[in-house]
């Protein structure tokens, strides 16, 4: 990478669904995060990191799932994600899928919270037979959210922890994340194309509060009609 034109401050957010302590899932996420921070700092940027341990959100999960009622920790986590320039998302694999805690967390987020944000996807498992969970399952979840997972997915089963190749893949993913963060892709999408994504009032973590008064629905709300008389060639009222 070349020297950046202007040093920026970037916010990275780590989301880990590991439940043991210490957790290998958290460890994998942290290694990727440290590499990404080092790369961005080496290029003159300042990086702040916030870690969201999903285990701590467990008590608030039932209400988030049942009534879309976000407790204080959920709300805080959403604020951090909303402001994030890059995300490192890591899950343990249970029964051939990212853990329920991980999936549930991302399922209750607003559809437009993570648009365009670069994400390192990472998973840990006890066996290499789960290796495709990152690319086949987690990647589609983030595609739905219109996030931008980096090309390299990280997966570590028991044997990978002693394999140098994991370090190489972590470097690769971290570099990809750093380049995408530095490109300002998510910010540019937000500036230039935000209206082309579907939003609902109060979505994007409560930040989507603009109301367009110049829409078909708003015209209908104010006594107008959806019918276009001119579109009917036999309707003479407007001719």
């Amino acid at each position: 990478m070349t020297t950046p034109v202007t040093p920026e401050t970037y916010r990275l957010v780590v989301v880990s669904a590991g439940v043991s302590d210490p957790s290998s899932t958290r460890l994998l996420a942290d290694r990727a995060t440290q590499r990404a921070v080092a790369i961005l700092e080496s290029r003159g940027h300042t990086v702040t990191v916030t870690a969201i341990d999903l285990r701590e959100l467990l008590p608030e999960l039932p209400q988030a799932l049942s009534s879309q009622l976000m407790g204080p920790r959920f709300t805080k986590a959403i604020e951090h994600l909303q402001a994030a320039d890059g995300i490192i998302a890591a899950a343990p694999v249970y029964k051939a899928a990212a853990s329920g805690l991980f999936s549930s967390f991302f399922q209750v987020l607003d559809n437009d919270l993570l648009i365009g944000k670069p994400v390192i996807l990472a998973a840990t498992a006890g066996t290499a037979r789960h290796a495709l969970v990152v690319d086949e399952e987690m990647r589609s979840l983030f595609a739905y959210l219109r996030a931008l997972p980096v090309p390299t997915g990280l997966f570590a089963s028991t044997e990978d922890w002693t394999d140098k190749a994991l370090g190489t893949r972590i470097d690769r993913a971290a570099t990809e994340l750093a380049i995408l963060v530095e490109s300002g892709f998510a910010r540019k999408v937000r500036d230039d194309s935000w209206a082309r994504y579907q939003h609902t009032y109060g979505s994007a973590g409560g930040t989507e509060l603009d109301i367009d008064l110049d829409s078909d629905m708003m015209r209908l709300a104010t006594g107008g009609s959806l019918r276009d008389a001119a579109a009917d060639p036999f309707d003479l009222r407007d001719s």
Partner: protein, 394 residues
Amino acid sequence: MQFGIMSVSDITRDPVTGYTPSEAERIDAIRQIAVKAEEVGLDVFAIGEHHNPPFFSSSPTTLLAHIGALTERLILTTSTTLITTNDPVRIAEEYAMLQHLTKGRMDLMLGRGNTAPVYPWFGQDIRQGLPLALENYNLLHRLWREDVVDWEGNFRGPLQGFTSTPRPLDDVPPFVWHGSIRTPEIAEQAAYYGNGYFANNIFWPKEHYKRLIDFYRRRFEAHGHGAQKEAIVGLGGQAFIAKSSQDARDQFRPYFNEAPVYGNGPRMEDFEEMTPLSVGSPQEVIDKTLTFREAFGDYQRQLFLVDHAGLPLNVVLEQLELLGGEVVPVLRKELDAKREPGTAEAPTHAALVKAKYGDAEPRQPRPNANRGDNVTGGSPYQDSESSVAAYPSM
């Protein structure tokens, strides 16, 4: 300021006794609940509309007309009337009839309904829910204000020379609240017409409701109906009251834990912390309810949900005693004392008549002789100008 109760009309198993009331029992109970509401000094009774079990209230105007006959003062309303799956022509007719029978002691709240399968039962599609609601109200608004309506829209057959009968009592349309908790277009429609805006104020933190209420107030002013503080706002709320807060928690917890919608989710204490729910002594309920005014400004109507989640009739009636006896009198006094001058009065038929006619006699439409149709001869009523020439008969 008006205080009252709103019922969803759910027939829910009592989680403490395991008993599920029959439809007959629950319908009989709601009559007693409404009568009790008047007896303890409340102003408003609202009933929901649903078309699927476990709810009983498919026909709100029938129920409300009956309650109207059992009561003297109570204002009867809905929470909500489905503006999507009902034909607006039928809403115009049924609620005008209710208005006559109750001598104006009614209004109605419009809502969309969020149960997808219900829509096709009435020939509609939930994906069109919002335009359906907006267009249907546009028509309803005219049906109550114009003797003869020509109309064409997307969701029902066109009308030519249609007169909705009976005309509203005193030719003053029923007051309308638009209920919404997430749709700016509904708030805009309420503001455009100068109607009321109602937030159910049940499931979420108050900041969530505040955004749309503030938007409605700004748009009410922008559309020229008066200052923001003159906009007409109604709020829901949920309370369970007992002499002591510990009793209230102990009694309500099993019902909370299994309540439809939020049951089996949050802890009751967390839900109280995050939402407008209050479970406690009369003073605690008063204190929490007073925070609504701080968040949303002076408002005109407060409705509490008290008869849901399988609470047995005797408990609901006790709740009403406490609400009407100990909570509402204090709220009335406190809120009146705090009320900013120049805010709107709560809507009543008498006030609307006064606003329209001053001291003059209200119009009492008298139809012309039956012409066998609704189309020829201009106005169907004796006192209005004919836009079409009426030829003298032989």
